[in-house]
């Protein structure tokens, strides 16, 4: 399968020739009417997609043709149709990711362009989004700075990670290595179920209970603090971190743990010197997953924060909370249009790209761990 094109043209040409040969074989081997059916289905589906993109009311027509063609194919040439259908679904899945990328980038572009700055004569699009510090979409001078929201997201994420990572990993250690079997059998599914508590419920409790309490306790003007949003988001990510980290710890072979214990080490020494290092990648993937959750968490932040973009003073003052990237979108999409709406999409792009990198990073770490531990199992 590794027909990666070599850097030279010869390899490319060879690959192309091979591909051509394969498709010619396919055409030769397949009965003509099956080929026609599949082609009709593919073309009509493409047409339907194009119609949908172009907001045409005729979209239904090619879609109906597609349904008829696949229906016919299913009855007469099930083998081939199934294969083509599953291929189509795979392509659609990738297409969804592609469409998300294209659309949010396209919608974000006007603001990026608006925020162009010339540095030594070279125009750098979007730079003003990051060097100004004021979000002011209505009153002139109109500025769409994302700095306050990035600041908020960073603070919330740091606090949430500080809560979720150590507590989550310690709890995972407890569940996987220490807890008696009966406790684990009850608590593990319980934790997994609690991972499902909707974020709006956390937000609601934070809004009605925590925020007033904090405002009173710390003598803050008004409600909404990054500190407590961070703690709530951290608690929300906690079950996910526990559950994933527990799986990673559990996958460390028992023989390795027994080997350490048989040398006369304590359980705690075995955990810290053998089990945790061996499961390090899986555990850090769990933490990264938690961080991703914290960055992307919307509702708790939207409900609990003030919704008035700005930097806290001083910058490390976590007792005030203005807006995060997510809450900015959720709170402003309604009355935003034009450039302001486009600025919300820029926030979306930042979120999307950051979390995508985290996801790819954790997959890379996990793959490396599997390779490394591969010899031990």
């Amino acid at each position: 399968m590794n027909v990666l094109p070599d850097s030279d043209g010869a390899g490319l040409r060879a690959a192309a020739r091979r591909g051509l040969r394969r498709s010619r074989d396919f055409v030769d081997e397949t009965p003509p009417d099956a080929l026609v059916t599949v082609t009709v289905a593919a073309v009509s589906l493409l047409a339907a997609f194009a119609g949908f993109l172009a907001v045409s009311s005729l979209t239904a027509v090619p879609f109906a043709v597609f349904l008829v063609a696949t229906g016919y194919g299913w009855l007469r040439h099930q083998e081939l149709t199934a294969r083509v259908l599953t291929l189509t679904t795979t392509v659609s899945t990738i297409l969804v990711l592609g469409l998300i990328l294209v659309f949010i980038f396209a919608e974000a572009w006007p603001t990026v362009q608006y925020a162009t700055v010339n540095v030594f004569g070279i125009p750098i699009p979007g730079l003003r989004l990051f060097i100004e510090t004021r979000w002011s979409p209505v009153t002139p001078p109109i500025q769409y700075s994302l700095v306050p929201m990035i600041h908020g997201t960073v603070l919330v994420t740091i606090i949430a990670t500080a809560v979720a990572a150590p507590l989550g990993v310690a709890a995972a250690l407890f569940l996987s290595e220490i807890a008696p079997r009966t406790v684990r059998e009850v608590v593990k599914p319980g934790v997994e179920i609690l991972a499902g508590i909707p974020s709006i419920v956390y937000g609601f409790i934070g809004f009605t209970i925590l925020s007033p309490w904090a405002a009173d306790q710390f003598d803050i003007v008004g409600q909404g603090t990054y500190l407590f949003v961070g703690i709530v988001v951290g608690l929300m990510a906690l079950p996910t971190v526990v559950s994933v980290a527990e799986d990673a710890l559990n996958s460390v072979p028992e023989s390795m743990k027994s080997g350490s214990l048989a040398l006369g080490t304590t359980d705690w020494q075995t955990m810290t010197s053998i089990t945790l290092p061996a499961a390090f990648s899986g555990v850090s993937a769990a933490v990264l997953l938690g961080v991703g959750r914290a960055i992307g968490e919307t509702m708790a932040a939207t409900v609990m924060l003030r919704g008035s973009p700005g930097l806290t003073k001083p910058l490390y003052n976590v007792f005030y909370g203005n807006d995060t990237l997510t809450s900015l979108i959720a709170a402003n999409y309604g009355d935003a249009d034009g450039l302001q709406l486009s600025a919300l999409f820029v926030a979306g792009v930042i979120l999307f790209v950051t979390v995508l990198f985290l996801s790819i990073g954790s997959q890379y770490i996990e793959a490396r761990m599997r390779r490394k531990l591969g010899g031990a199992e």
């Binding site: 899945t93 949010i104 599914p189 608690l235 906690l238 992307g296 959720a330 995508l356 790819i360």
Partner: protein, 540 residues
């Protein structure tokens, strides 16, 4: 070398010194509980407990604890207590103590003594360095007890002498003002000190050394696990308690109690009347309810499942069964994992940009369904692929050896065998999307408190016409409500919009509870089936 630390195979019966250490651990636990109680304002710090004001009690206990731990450490160093300490408390403990005392020194120098920047930096460095040295250089018994016990002694004396008394307030002096008051500071400091001292006492109980570290760490790990479980449990229990009254307001049970319904031409009364889930919001209702939101959630889930499951399972079949492992499958895997971790608000933005303009240019149920379908898709692909990979290759080979075509093998061997995994994945995914607010906020949100007449009826909404697009369904093309969105709008709505609802607070909590029940219900069913099939696999 090895004989330097020979210990007995069988330890003596619990000695008196061990009992002292165990007592210290227990006292630290009591102190921790007391301070938690006052953080959550179950007891205020000026309330008398056993005749003593709370502050004095906390301070006094801290002094006792700190003294006990220091005595134990010194006693062990002088050989009065039989322990098995290492030459040093270790780098981690020393650094932690150094940092704690760095902060203490800095705060005392800047706040209490009023030194300037240079002064507090020097003060912090000196105390921090001293604490590091005390824990790193002497033997472990001194190194791990002295800094911890010393901190507890110090804090206890500060509380007892009233340097931090009940009326103490520390204004941070920031531009946006915030301050610490005694009500918060004293219990939190006490809790922190009791953790440190509790850990040191647990180490002493284990006789320091490897066993002591083991015991000390276990105390903290157990405490952490218990707190997390208790906290999450409290969260759910609290919501249930607050929500129950509103949920069962006007609940009646008995023949003919419920509203009349017409099914297949027959009209009869339901035996249950449950206004909260059977009514919408209206001015004349005795009890207002969330029926439109429940119906909206159900239709959302159905739509998302109808969209995502065929696509997701199909894609999983292709990459697992047809495609060769290589670049292509890798790209699909990265794409699905990337999609899975994409923040839900980004899906909402995508729906807003891609679906809304193409579906009648307004927020609609269909746009919400598709957006949630996009969210569900990667989870269906991932879990289906996992459970298909778990089907042993022998099954496929055996089937292929019988001359059965590939698709027949997939249909009659692979899919049935992986069905439990796929179903579990779908249920869990449905639980997640049923609780999502952000995407539907941007793509289908309707009015804040919809009346019962706005309950969406998709099946009855289909209309056929001769011009393209031939089939329309206004119900699908309209904005509607869903439970999470309903809760959100209830929280953020101003008084005017929710004036129809009398007891707004009760109504909110009931909505939160029913949302929790619906979502956790999906999760519970999904996880129960997963464990059921897993244990079945293990026993076979």
């Amino acid at each position: 070398m090895a004989s330097a630390t020979d210990t007995a195979l069988v330890s003596e019966d619990t000695s008196e010194t061990e009992a002292v250490a165990a007592g210290a651990v227990g006292l630290a636990a009591v102190l921790f509980a007391l301070s938690l109680a006052s953080v959550f304002e179950l007891v205020t710090i000026t309330d008398p407990v056993a005749g003593v004001p709370m502050v004095a009690l906390l301070g006094g206990l801290l002094v006792v604890l700190g003294f006990a731990v220091v005595t134990f450490g010194v006693g062990s160093r002088l050989g009065y207590v039989a322990t098995d300490p290492r030459p040093t408390a270790g780098l981690v403990a020393s650094t932690a103590f150094g940092l704690v005392w760095f902060v203490v020194g800095g705060l005392v120098a800047s706040q209490s003594l009023g030194f300037g920047t240079a002064g507090w930096v020097i003060g912090a460095l000196v105390t921090g360095g001293a604490a590091f040295a005390v824990s790193a250089f002497p033997r472990e018994d001194i190194g791990s007890t002295l800094p911890a016990g010393g901190l507890a002694l110090f804090a206890g004396i500060v509380f007892l002498t009233g340097v931090i008394g009940p009326s103490w307030v520390w204004n941070l002096g920031w531009e946006q003002q915030a301050s610490f008051n005694a009500e918060f500071t004293i219990p939190v400091l006490t809790a922190f000190c009791s953790l440190l001292v509790g850990w040191a006492a647990a180490k002493a109980y284990g006789g320091f050394g490897a066993r002591g570290r083991h015991v000390g760490a276990y105390v903290l790990v157990y405490l952490n696990a218990i707190s997390i479980i208790a906290l999450l449990f409290l969260l759910v229990a609290f919501t249930v308690l607050k929500g129950l009254p509103g949920l069962f307001n006007g609940f009646a049970f008995g023949a003919g109690a419920g509203p009349e319904v017409t099914l297949v031409g027959l009209t009869f009364s339901l035996p249950v009347s449950w206004p909260f889930v059977m009514n919408g919001v209206a001015l004349l209702n005795d009890v207002n309810g969330v029926l439109p939101a429940i119906a909206g959630t159900i239709w959302l889930v159905i739509g998302a499942v109808l969209f995502a499951v065929p696509l997701g399972v199909g894609a999983a079949v292709f990459i697992t069964e047809y495609a060769d492992r290589g670049r292509f499958t890798q790209v699909v895997e990265i794409a699905t994992n990337g999609l899975w971790s994409t923040p839900s608000i980004v899906f909402g933005l995508f729906g807003l940009a891609f679906l809304v303009p193409r579906l009648g240019n307004q927020k609609s149920l269909l746009a919400g369904m598709l957006t949630l379908g996009f969210m569900l898709l990667p989870l269906v692909v991932i879990t289906s692929r996992e459970s298909m990979l778990a089907v042993p290759d022998e099954y496929r080979d055996a089937s292929a050896a019988l001359g059965v075509t590939k698709w027949q093998t997939i249909r009659s061997i692979v899919l049935p065998a992986s069905l439990p995994g796929i179903v579990t994945g779908i249920i869990l995914g449905v639980g997640r999307i049923a609780g999502e607010t952000a995407p539907i906020l941007l793509t289908m949100s309707g009015s804040v408190a919809p009346p019962g007449s706005q309950t969406v009826d998709v099946l009855g909404g289909f209309q056929f016409q001769s011009a393209p697009p031939f089939v329309t369904n206004p119900e699908l093309m309209q904005a509607t409500s869903a439970l999470p969105y309903q809760l959100y709008s209830l929280i953020t709505a101003g008084v005017g919009q929710s004036s129809n609802i009398g007891a707004i607070d009760e109504f909110r909590w009931a909505t939160a509870l029913i949302l929790l029940v619906v979502v956790l219900g999906f999760y519970a069913v999904g996880i129960a089936t997963r464990y059921y099939f897993r244990s079945k696999l293990q026993h076979d």
